[in-house]
């Protein structure tokens, strides 16, 4: 795979570069930044993440299963009168139901996030530039299927928008 990457110092020039590349219909492989850049996802045309849905599904599952479990224990498995409460003592079951919901929702979204992003113990994702987690913004493009002319255009776009360095990789 042939890669070309541009390095930027400023958030503003990064956004400009991304916008101008996209305006020329050039596909960006990835962008790396030391912090979440405001407006970058729109500039790159990233779709909104569906991850909150994982939390919702997990939370709904947690709430329903938590409540049913308690109801099952108190009405079927081990019915016992405690404190004069009815077997199906709904108000008593609310706290645990709520905790189940939050626990399942939180773990669902975090696991979905880690799996989807390929993050986890032992994950060894490629690091293009170590300074990308410090003070540098990196735009990476895949030029395997791109001709000379197009690659030249990318380079000029980088230069126009104030890239402080351009790197080629095989």
């Amino acid at each position: 795979m042939k890669l070309i990457s541009g390095y930027f110092n400023k958030e503003a020039s990064l956004l400009e570069a991304v916008k101008s590349l996209r305006a020329n219909n050039i596909k960006i492989k990835d962008v790396f930044s030391p912090y979440p850049v405001h407006g970058l996802d729109q500039a790159m045309g990233l779709r909104r993440s569906w991850l909150p849905r994982a939390a919702f599904i997990g939370g709904a599952f947690g709430a329903i299963s938590g409540f049913l479990f308690q109801a099952w224990v108190f009405t079927r498995a081990y019915p016992i009168k405690i404190g004069g409460k009815p077997f199906l003592a709904t108000p008593s079951f609310i706290p645990v139901t709520f905790e189940f919901a939050v626990l399942f929702a939180a773990f669902s979204i975090v696991f979905a996030y880690l799996l989807k992003s390929n993050l986890g113990v032992g994950a060894n994702n490629k690091i293009y530039d170590e300074r990308a987690t410090d003070d540098r913004f990196v735009v990476v493009l895949d030029t395997s299927n791109v001709d000379e002319q197009e690659a030249e255009k990318i380079k000029s776009k980088f230069e126009e928008t104030g890239a402080e360095g351009i790197k080629y990789e095989e």
Binding site: P52, F56, G83, G84, P91, S92
Partner: protein, 397 residues
């Protein structure tokens, strides 16, 4: 896109025009209210009529009060997002003097709703409370609350209006002291106000949480009313500068305080249900047994519907959906007051009928009239507010 919003703001000098047509509609509302009142006096016992008046007066008063609270909180927290809608809670808070008038009228009907007034000399339990529950002190307290609330409301409104003329920052900084003082006073008096006018209806019953529970309801209701007024103004062609993010934020507030209200409702109910002490449980037994449907409907309107709808991000950004939910919550809070008052004042089980609804329509007419009238008095955008720009340049996740 940005420059578009900026040009709107720079040229924005519009005040609301209260047209004849709207005035006529509101006049019809008020006529319905008056007719219902006349019908009620003719058809029902004085206790029922006064209870309905109490419900609507408290509801009316706390809408204005909640709006002042909204303004004050956003001043002391130095928030910026709300500036685009700030003039709306300000206008709502201007209804406070009318609420005060209704409360003063209520003083003539105290005998009909508060059973402690005639039992204070022979009910041993109420005799113990006489130092607090006696008519002169009760009335004095009311006048103190009303006077201070109205004073602060006017001071904050005037400082905000003055900021339109010249230096916004100067008046803004001035208002911070008053806002802090108001919040301190409000935090204490809303609790005692709730004890006086709602908890003492059933003078034997007590709950330490009651005041905060009422406060949570007031806050939710004030958000609901702000959203409804925003929607009305949008419909009439104003407030085109309000962004989706502003609506999103109002909806988030409505959503989170609906949950907070539910949390306090549940805390109070759960503890009383669990401990099951006769002197406390009676309050809920009355309501569950006699008003079972309304009792659960209260939870559905105030919590379940707003929770299930506004949990979806997309819905929080669509004005008509948010407004419908605000209307549901508004009705829910009315019902909550109904459940606080009627099971206590009326011996026999009541049904919500034409009288109750008609009277409420009348009060809504007066509320909207005062709010729209005060919207004509100031520009719809506080253009010298130091955080004005922030209100248009932020994004919700």
């Amino acid at each position: 896109m940005k420059s578009n919003i900026e040009s709107i703001m720079e040229n924005y000098n519009i005040t609301f025009q209260f047209s004849k047509k709207i005035k006529t509609i509101l006049a019809v509302f008020i006529v319905i209210g008056v007719a219902s009142l006349a019908y009620g006096i003719f058809a029902y016992s004085p206790t029922k009529v006064w209870s309905a008046l109490l419900l609507n007066s408290v509801n009316f008063l706390t809408i204005g009060l909640g709006a002042t609270f909204f303004v004050a909180v956003h001043i002391i927290t130095q928030s910026g997002w709300h500036v685009s809608v700030q003039r709306i809670p300000e206008a709502i808070s201007m209804s406070l003097p009318f609420g005060a008038i209704f409360m003063i009228i209520m003083l003539f009907g105290l005998n009909n709703v508060f059973h402690w007034i005639h039992e204070v000399h022979h009910d041993p339990l109420i005799m113990k409370k006489e130092a607090y529950l006696n008519v002169p002190f009760f009335i004095t307290r009311l006048f103190i609350y009303l006077a201070v609330w109205i004073l602060f409301t006017y001071v904050l409104r005037n400082l905000s209006k003055k900021s339109d003329l010249n230096d916004g920052l100067k008046y803004y900084n001035k208002s911070r002291t008053y806002a802090a003082l108001f919040i301190v006073f409000f935090a204490i008096t809303i609790v005692t106000f709730a004890w006086d006018w709602l908890m003492s209806i059933e003078a034997h019953w007590f709950s330490t949480l009651f005041g905060w529970y009422v406060l949570a309801g007031v806050i939710v209701k004030s958000f609901a009313v702000i959203i409804i007024i925003v929607a009305i103004l949008r419909k009439l062609g104003y407030l085109e500068f309000i962004t989706k993010e502003n609506i999103h934020d109002l909806a988030r507030y409505l959503f989170s305080f609906a949950i907070f209200w539910m949390y306090l409702w549940f805390s109070q109910f759960m503890l009383i249900w669990y401990a099951n002490l006769p002197e406390e449980t009676l309050y809920f037994i009355k309501r569950v047994d006699n008003y079972g449907f309304l009792f659960y409907l209260n939870l559905i309107l105030n919590f379940l519907i707003p929770f299930l709808v506004l949990i979806v991000r997309k819905f929080r950004r669509i004005l008509w959906i948010v407004t419908s939910i605000a209307l549901v919550v508004f009705a829910g809070q009315w019902l909550d007051h109904y459940l606080m008052i009627f099971p206590g004042t009326m011996l026999d089980v009541q049904k919500i009928g034409i009288f109750d609804i008609g009277l409420t329509i009348g009060f809504i007419g007066i509320l909207l009239w005062t709010v729209l009238q005060s919207l004509t008095k100031a520009k719809l955008l506080p253009k010298n507010h130091p955080y004005l720009q922030e209100s248009f340049h932020y994004e919700n996740l």
